[in-house]
Amino acid sequence: MNRNLATTYSSSLLRLFRVYGTLFAGVLIILCFSILRPDSFATLDNVINISRQISFLVMIALGATLVMAVGEFDLSIGAMASLGGVMAAKLAVSGQPMWLCILLPLAISLVIGYINGWIVTKFKVLSFITTLGMGTILGGITFWLTDGATIFENIPESFRYLGQEMWFTIPILSFIMLFLTILFWYIMSYTPFGRRLYAIGGNEAASRNAGISVAINKNLAFALCAVLATLTGILMASRLGSAQPTSGDGLFLPAYAAAFLGMTSFKEGVPNIWGTFVGAAIIGILANGLTMLEVPPFLQDVVTGSIVIAAVILQKIGRDSS
């Protein structure tokens, strides 16, 4: 029947909207900026520019997504990133080889993240409070390492390589970001480990009863999250050529904003890697475009907040009828 066809058609359009709504919103934002600032926003240079700018947010938000996938939160990611940058910079200043400057902090953070998970799973403590406490502790350690001051003197040139260099006119940072996104997308979607993480997040008791080692998998998710946060911090220090004791703190809320925005995309209601990527991209593009449009600072906030809310609402349109 004709009517049925129409219904089918419109309902599959709605379905598309529900799944890709946030992505559509992102495209819409890009279109707007491109029309308003064709000469500066819609340029290849700027695409590269944005891809580098969002790289930190994407990386740290990937970690947040892993922990959210098992139904927990890690509020220490900001502090972890700051500490990571500081550790790497201190090592670099003290003349250690580059690989050690990167791997040692990553190894340390792996342990710290695992401890986060261990406290949560062993004592059944809410992750919210555990990681808040851990974040405070890490902040103290960072402060102790730096005396609160930015580290920038005597940082060797090689330390800046990853953060500042390009390959084929594309920043290395952008490559790293893309590589990690694809890697974790693969892990989460196509490996048993990823499926287990999602199962735990979906129904912990059922997963345990099905024979999944809930504790170990959760601990690993926390450990990976900490490693990603630390990597973000290290790369940020490399990019700035200096390590501030609070450099990562500002990433914490945007990271969760990205992950939650992502939850409205692709797999509804489930934290997912590409969703997080799109979420981070939207946040990054908004900041970039609004600066280019020279919107006054207070209006930028109002616009950003409104667009984020609008983007998620947009995606719910027609939900009832489906």
Binding site: T191, P192, A206
Partner: protein
């Protein structure tokens, strides 16, 4: 094969199990029966490593075994379908099937071979003869589909002992038959079955031996052949059953309508063109096969599902506002099918749950009258014999059947004129089931009406004055419950299905 000796389990100070001893032989179907809260599920949870016992020993193939976690149980060959569904809502049927077992992996690398996984699952599906769209997410499956999925999952791995905790509670007769076939196939291969059910007919028909539990203790193990329904019930309660069923026929033609639907269609087309009526004092049964839209019909009447066209009258008044709140104000209540999902707040106490929909009766705007509330709750707990330590016990600590009783008490507290009952007696023991029937009959004698949905034809026949048969959201037949038989009703259903298949 499995020997249990002197098992104890304590919750706080309360013994849920004491000195339980039980033997299960390979290749037998061993039934486990008992009142709600007798400790059946607790025993199963110990056997599958979810709880640890406080005392006693378990021997598996003559070796003392400690089942420390669910993983251990699965490894040694004990598979289980729990009373509460254990699925990951956001996963598809396929993914749920492979939960906790090793996925088929690529030769090189770590990736999952989805193709192989699907093939394996589909093979199993056709082997078991189960019809189920495995691509669907678990959250979109109906209770019966979820059960079938769990049964499939248990059958995925080779198992020596399969434990089924009230598997048929949410299944229709047809699906139950499928399950029985499957059970017989497994038994033929030497698998032992531990079968928990409140449906005595199934027990008598299926099992070789039956163990009766009473108050956390074993009342005895018997060969099923020597058992009858009455003796079983007697063993369970330790008293002779007094409830006598009798059907007195009344004429309803001169009574007023409590509910009348005229060509009601829901927005999502799950309910189509339904016209029906329920008169004062009448219990109207609705029967249909799984997925025929019974739940949806009740939800549409109750207001949780949107109505598109048609007209609804309650006590002769045309209804224009649809929401649970309005329904309750009109005196319409729903006993939902999924009691944990839609009926109860499991973290709250019995008291708080029971008075939830009638809170205003026990309170002014600025406070709740504690004494009044407690008295009412206690009264109803006694009337329905809810087995709990106190009215303050959280719902999640109650056995399945006792949870259902709380749902019922909540409904009764609001003194409704129309009951919409969706599988109200699932998971409820025989005695309570009779009590619930009796309760409903008492209620209708005060001029209220009942719309009663059950997957059990016999139950529908036992209780209803009139029966509608529903198929794909449409009413296809109506019977006065006088000379009609279960076969006749089922016949209508199957005929309809054949027609729509053509």
């Amino acid at each position: 094969m499995l020997q249990v000796r002197d098992l104890d389990k304590r919750f706080g100070l309360h013994y849920a199990l004491s000195k339980i001893s039980l033997d299960i032989h390979s290749g037998e179907i061993h039934a486990l029966v008992g009142e709600n809260g007798a400790g059946k599920s607790t025993l199963i949870k110990i056997l599958t490593g979810i709880y640890q016992p406080n005392g006693g020993k378990v021997f598996w193939n003559n070796q003392e075994t400690v089942i420390r976690e669910p993983k251990t149980a699965r490894k040694i060959g004990i598979q289980v379908v729990h009373q509460d569904r254990q699925l990951i809502a956001s996963f598809s049927g396929y993914e749920n099937l492979f939960l906790g077992i090793s996925y088929p992996k690529q030769k090189l690398g770590l990736g999952i071979r989805w193709g192989a996984m699907k093939k394996e699952a589909d093979q199993l599906k056709s082997k078991l003869g189960i019809q189920l769209d495995l691509r669907k997410l678990a959250e979109h499956m109906s209770p019966s589909e979820k059960t079938m999925l769990e049964i499939m999952r248990a059958a995925m791995l080779d198992c020596q002992l399969l434990i089924l905790d009230e598997p048929t509670a949410a299944l229709s007769d047809e699906e139950s038959e499928l399950l029985f076939e499957l059970i017989n196939k497994l038994v033929a291969k030497g698998t032992a079955i531990l079968y928990v059910s409140h449906r005595m007919n199934e027990i008598l028909r299926l099992s070789d031996r039956v163990t009766v539990m009473r108050n956390g203790k074993i009342a005895g193990t018997f060969s099923t052949k020597e058992m009858s329904k009455d003796t079983l019930v007697q063993l369970m309660t330790n008293q002779t059953s007094s409830i006598k069923k009798q059907m007195q026929k009344t004429s309803f033609s001169n009574k007023e309508n409590v509910l009348q639907l005229k060509q009601v269609t829901s927005k999502d087309q799950k309910v189509k063109n339904v016209s029906l009526d329920v008169k004062q004092g009448e219990i109207v049964g609705i029967f249909g096969l799984a997925g025929s839209g019974r739940t949806e019909l009740l939800e549409t009447i109750y207001g949780t599902r949107h109505l598109k066209t048609g007209q609804m009258e309650i006590q002769g008044k045309i209804v224009s506002s649809f929401s649970p709140k309005h329904s309750l104000a009109r005196g319409v209540i729903l006993i939902p099918e999924d009691r944990r999902g839609d009926g109860l707040i499991v973290d709250m106490s019995i008291r708080e749950n029971m008075t939830l929909s009638t809170l205003s009766e026990f309170s002014s705007i600025y406070n709740i009258k504690n004494q009044k509330e407690k008295t009412a709750v206690r009264t109803w707990m006694e009337r329905l014999q809810v087995k709990a330590t106190s009215s303050e016990q959280p719902i999640k600590e109650l056995s399945g059947g006792n949870q259902q009783k709380v749902v019922f008490a909540k409904a009764l507290l609001s003194k409704p004129i129309l009951y919409l009952c969706d599988e109200p007696t699932q998971a409820v023991d025989v005695m309570t089931r009779e009590e619930i029937h009796q309760l409903l009959k008492d209620q209708v004698s005060h001029d209220s009406g009942v719309l009663f949905v059950s997957s059990d034809v016999q139950e529908v026949l036992d209780i209803s004055d009139r029966i509608y048969v529903i198929h794909e959201g449409e009413i296809v037949a109506e019977f006065e419950n006088e000379a009609v038989t279960a076969e006749q009703i089922l016949q209508v259903c199957y005929n309809q299905r054949k027609q729509s298949d053509v």
